[in-house]
């Protein structure tokens, strides 16, 4: 009986809180936010959170365009998708003053190409894509993308590259020092020729398998995401993740404020909550990427705080996001990729 009364009281209390403080509807990647953090947000604000999940940026975009706008308050698109969504008019804007913790955003992520001035988005987590090398096979210098595109003899024929057009062409462009969305014939021809020559040194294309081939020894070097490389290291492979001097690819997931959000005020509160260093660190500890928020270090797990994959050396160049090309330009890059794999 007492249990029943307590439960009833709790339900009444919850219902009261929900009515008083309202709701928040989040559209998020699967397994990308710890439940304890959501509970903490509800405990602090009384806002009841419902989360629907998706497994790709494109699936999220398609679903929102197919009539789910107005149903969600926030979503978590990747960098290029923020730009696409803004272009499609799916994002609302906010003033920095609305979010008390806005100043916690790390300076390097404040003015990003996909959302200049951060008008609709805040950083969630970021990571990088370059390559890793098995140090037992090749102990030499790995500070250049030439390891992948013009490899030393020890690594030739033992290289795995990501089976992903965006990453391969972006890293190739960075290696040659040409823009990612070029229409210049000489530059595109150079990229095409460089990739065809590099392919003769490659053993395989694989994204899902990028970690396994390094762990098993099928590949001695491989293009890889930084989080994946740290897992390879944790599984016992003597691999080192490189931050090459020409640059590397970065990606960032961002919390965006959706247009027609039914609970705009609560969405702002949620974004503010996620910019608190302790909360941002909780996501990082869960997902093992890197937060785009300053002051998270004291709250990070030791392994993540000191991970060489998550902490670029001080002299590392800035990473580049994969650029969003217009349709005509994209056609040229599609042709280069098909030519590489035909």
């Amino acid at each position: 009986m007492r249990l029943l009364t307590t439960t009833a009281a709790a339900i009444v209390a919850l219902a009261g809180a929900a009515q008083a403080e309202g709701k928040l509807s989040v559209y998020h990647w699967f397994e990308y936010i710890p439940q304890e953090l959501v509970d903490k947000f509800t405990a602090e604000t009384g806002i009841e959170v419902t989360i629907d999940t998706y497994d790709s940026n494109e699936a999220m975009l398609a679903s929102l365009k197919a009539g789910k706008m107005g149903q969600y308050d926030v979503a978590v698109p990747g960098d290029y998708m923020v730009q696409i969504m803004a272009g499609e008019g799916l994002l609302d804007t906010f003033a920095p003053a609305e979010i008390a913790n806005f100043g916690n955003i790390a300076p390097q992520w404040l003015d990003v190409p996909f959302d200049p001035g951060r008008q609709s988005s805040i950083p969630y987590q970021w990571g990088s894509t370059s390559f890793s090398v098995n140090r037992d096979v090749y102990p030499g210098d790995i500070g250049s993308l030439a390891i992948i595109f013009d490899p030393p003899a020890e690594l030739s024929g033992k290289i795995n590259v990501l089976d992903s057009q965006g990453e391969v062409l972006a890293l190739g462009s960075i290696y040659l020092g040409i823009p990612q969305c070029s229409q210049d014939r000489a530059q595109l021809k150079a990229l095409n020729d460089m990739l065809l020559a590099a392919k003769t040194h490659w053993a395989s294309f694989g994204s899902d398998t990028a970690k396994d081939v390094l762990v098993s020894g099928d590949a001695a070097a491989g293009m890889i995401y930084n989080g994946f490389s740290s897992k390879a290291r944790a599984e016992g492979a003597n691999v080192e993740y490189a931050y090459p001097k020409e640059g590397f690819v970065v990606w960032m997931d961002n919390v965006v404020l959706l247009k027609d959000a039914p609970n705009r005020d609560n969405a702002i509160k949620f974004m503010n909550f996620l910019l608190d260093p302790q909360n941002a660190a909780a996501v990082t500890n869960y997902a093992a990427y890197t937060a785009g928020v300053t002051g998270v270090e004291p709250f990070l797990d030791e392994a993540i705080r000191t991970s060489p994959e998550n902490n670029p050396p001080a002299d590392a160049p800035a990473g580049s996001f994969i650029a969003v090309c217009d349709e005509e330009t994209q056609k040229l890059y599609d042709a280069i990729w098909t030519n590489l794999k035909k």
Binding site: Q165, G166, L188, K189, S204, D334, K341, K342
Partner: protein, 306 residues
Amino acid sequence: MAGGAASGGTQGREYRAVALPLLLPAWLVIGIFMVLPVLLMGVYSFLTKEFRGGVIWDFTLAAYDQFFVYRGLFGDEPPTLEWTYITIFWRSIWQAGLATALCLAVGFPTAWFIATRPVRTRTMWLFLITVPYWVNLLIRTVSLKFLIRDNGPLNEGLMALGLIDGPLPLVNTNLAVQLGLFYSYLPFMVLPIYAAVERYDFALSEAAADLYAGRWTTLREIVLPAVRPGIVAGAILVFVPSLGAFLAPDLLGGAKTYMIGSLIDEQFRGSQGNWPFGAAAAMILMTLVLIALILYARAQGRGRPA
């Protein structure tokens, strides 16, 4: 006689009255799961590509144009035949044909062996053939990769025995792809041939021997024609899925070159896809397979005594 004819007519009506509802599920399945999707794919192949996935409902031949016509990287050269996709198709057809031949070479003796065992042990042999197929195809393919990789048990074992000095380069080769396809589809060859051989009347072989036919002559002139339907069914069952396979080429071959399957797959994934082109490539593939099957069926029809 008149009564017989009348009763036959009644039977026909009764037959139809029973047959219609009984056929309905089959029609629904074929209609919903085969005809509709193929029609949909046909329509999509003539639509306009929407940038970053999806289609715009404007009819165009752009997808077929992309498949067959090459105008240079920048689209301003005089049009010539586009070899890119024809090359990819030819590579897949060649791989599938080779896998079919390999399956036939191993599958026919296997089926013959099983069919000539005593009746009570045949079931066990058939059972053993199917055992590996209780495991998901992806897992079997990955396992095969584990076996043949440079530091896998096969290479390490051979090296330990001193038979080879360094690992045989198996993984990421066409040989590995062949091995994967062969392993994946072998039972599709064995089972139909077994069914045909089991029905074969071995007295015919004895008769041939009595008439002084040698072993090869008997096989060629008597056995093969008798079990041909089984071989054809097996060949089709192996060839068609091999043609669209992309697990074995991707995992065992290293995905360095497109196969038909991976080419089409990529058109429907991510933001760089091209749905009408993917649909067009699938339609062209289906048309090729259909033409091959129709030609075969007609050749069969002519070869059969009237």
